[in-house]
């Protein structure tokens, strides 16, 4: 059916270790080359770790899956140098329309907050996204992408993980210090370590259809509750790249997926929805079923789970890939520091702490959307209908309409890596939140704050610190970034978003999250906070070095 896209076929190559029959030990093996595994390879390799990626297939994501990527994952991909082509190819919508039965309930403008490098979100087919990620991995000397390599078995002890891998040349063995399991919702790795994968059990089915429009059609997001062409269910229409439109029909649990998939059933329904005049061609139809659940422990010894292998959510709110990319953002720096010996292994346990918290938050948000879209009782249906009827005339009711919320990052407010504030700060940032972007100027060149933060820990401070020194804990040094010296707050946005005053100092983690902040520059306090955010005990000796 698909005709706007042809799938690349990545070459299988036999590895020298399989050919020579020697078991090699690798620092990190990533299982799965989906969006999350590929992002993991980019982030870990950027942090100096050679990465082997195994994937049992040899192409990108087949068919229509993820569409919508939010600002924070785009910022992460920008840090990894791959966001630009995604943003260029992706489409952004601003106007959303909500329909209830046969009426337009209301329309709205997203009005994203200005002055960020990355847009609030883009829509892009998952295969395009993965193509960019694969291309970027191929450019990295220390990423070894191995297609048509299937993980068959994994065992581990204190020393390492042992992997049994199958290719067309047979079965061979590898060893790894660490394994990052990104092998998706049906993760084999999860079964191999015997991990528990449960959660709130909730099931629904969706009919996913991609259509190519033959004439202009507005770039808007349309969401129907209980429309005449698909009674009692919801329907979402979204624009993707290349005049391809994505339609999600909620089917409920009782519908017969095989029946619903038939073109003679799908096409009239789409015609009714788009109107008689719309001319389109069907590109892709599939039925998708999901459950909401997460793995009990994100870390099982030497195996770390990320992406769909660690959690699954409903598609309302487009959270799957978005949150998986943030798993990697959180994991990569920790794994690199633990692997090099610069941080204790306890740091890796905070990966579970912070990302399980985020996964639960995502599950909560997608459950809330689901409960609005698919009311579970007579009285919750009354409330849902009441909200939608009121929303036609009453603006107060519109924030209650939940057709899936844009995925936003979950701040790690309770994280054991945070140093709590000792002074008052205004604004949305706190220890544990990701850093807001803002325009800035460096040597007369305009640019963006997040791009100035670099790979490691950063100390963002206003003006010249009292004593110029490098703050270092063992092998980890924090880089100084002085507002007013190294960079200029050209439009005053950094000052507002970070509530800056003379002397204000932030300690920022390698994943661009706030570790601690103060109203004055105090080297001892910064070093203590750095040690704390490395998962070390605060009591250990302090050794600030001179720059």
């Amino acid at each position: 059916m698909l005709n706007t896209y042809s799938y690349p076929e990545f070459p299988y190559r036999q590895s020298p270790e399989q050919k020579n029959g020697v078991v090699r030990r690798h620092p990190v093996v990533v299982i799965g080359a989906g969006p999350i595994g590929l992002t993991a390879a980019l982030d870990l390799s950027a942090r100096g770790l050679p990465v082997v990626v195994l994937d049992d297939n040899n192409t990108v994501s087949v068919g229509s899956r993820a569409v919508c990527y939010a600002k924070r994952p785009l910022e992460i991909w920008n840090r990894l140098g791959v966001a630009r082509p995604m943003v260029e190819r992706g489409v952004s919508w601003k106007v959303g329309k909500v329909f209830f039965r046969d009426q337009l309930a209301y329309s709205f403008d997203l009005l994203p907050e200005p002055q960020h490098r990355m847009p609030a979100m883009i829509n892009l087919q998952q295969y395009y996204l993965e193509e960019e990620l694969v291309a970027a991995c191929t450019r990295r000397a220390n990423v070894d992408l191995r297609w048509k390599h299937k993980l068959l078995n994994l065992t581990q002890d204190n020393d390492c993980a042992r992997l049994t891998v199958e290719t067309r040349d047979g079965v061979f063995h590898m060893e790894a210090d660490w394994v990052v399991a990104c092998d998706g919702a049906n993760s084999d790795t999860r079964r191999m370590v015997g991990a528990e994968f449960t959660g709130q059990f909730f099931q629904d089915r969706f009919l996913i259809a991609d259509v190519v429009m033959k004439a202009a059609f507005p770039t808007e997001r349309w969401f129907w509750f209980d429309p005449p062409f698909h009674p009692n269910q919801s329907v979402l229409l979204h624009k993707q790249a290349d005049s391809v439109w994505r339609i999600d029909f909620q089917l409920g649990w009782d519908a017969d997926p095989e029946e619903e998939k038939k073109p003679e059933k799908v096409i009239p329904r789409i015609q009714a929805m788009l109107g008689d005049k719309a001319e389109f061609e069907l590109e892709w139809v599939s039925v998708y079923q999901f459950a909401c659940r997460r793995i009990k422990e994100f870390r099982a010894g030497r195996v770390l789970f990320a992406g769909d292998a660690a959690h699954q959510v409903s598609p309302f709110g487009a959270r799957g890939a978005n949150t998986g990319v943030q798993d990697i953002d959180n994991l990569a720096w920790k794994l690199a520091l633990v692997h090099s010996g610069a941080a204790p292994i306890e740091l890796l346990d905070t990966y579970h702490e912070e990302r399980a918290f985020a996964a639960d938050d995502n599950l909560k948000n997608s459950t809330r959307s689901t409960d609005f879209i698919t009311p579970k009782s007579r009285s919750s249906r009354r409330y849902r209908d009441a909200v939608l009827e009121l929303a036609e005339t009453e603006v107060f009711a519109r924030p209650l309409v939940n057709s899936g919320r844009l995925s936003t990052p979950t701040p790690y407010l309770e994280s054991s890596l945070n140093t709590p504030d000792a002074s008052a700060f205004a604004g949305q940032m706190k220890p544990g939140t990701h850093c807001a972007d803002a325009p800035m100027n460096r040597k007369g060149q305009s640019g963006w704050l997040l791009e100035q933060l670099g790979e490691g820990f950063t100390i963002l401070t206003v003006g010249e610190p009292p004593r110029h020194q490098t703050i270092r804990v063992g092998g980890v040094a924090a880089r100084l970034l002085r507002v007013g010296v190294d960079i200029d707050d050209s439009e005053g946005v950094i000052t507002t978003r970070y509530d800056l005053q003379p002397g204000t100092t932030y300690l920022i983690r390698p994943d661009q999250h706030v570790a601690a902040r103060w109203r004055s520059f105090d080297a001892d306090k910064i070093a203590a906070a750095l040690r704390h955010s490395l998962g070390m005990s605060i009591e250990t000796a302090l050794e600030p070095a001179c720059a």
């Binding site: 009354r382 009441a386 009711a397 209650l400």
Partner: protein, 66 residues
């Protein structure tokens, strides 16, 4: 803001009559929808989350209160 447990409605008999008559010609289903709208309209008027939580707890059936 705290939930007001004291009488606060002017002309209680008149209000009650208006409430009842407003639903006289409605089917059960329509009345349920109207009640739901009314709850939302009044909840928006109050706005304060703690007060709304208190009101929700007060309205729950007694035997099922935790």
């Amino acid at each position: 803001m705290r939930l007001n447990h004291q009488p606060n409605i002017a002309d209680p008999d008149g209000f009650y009559e208006e409430l009842i008559t407003s639903q006289r010609d409605l089917s059960d289903e329509q009345a349920e929808l109207m009640n739901a709208k009314l709850v939302l309209i009044l909840a928006n008027q109050i706005g304060d989350r703690a007060t709304l939580t208190e009101a929700l707890q007060l309205a729950r059936p007694r035997s099922r209160q935790a």
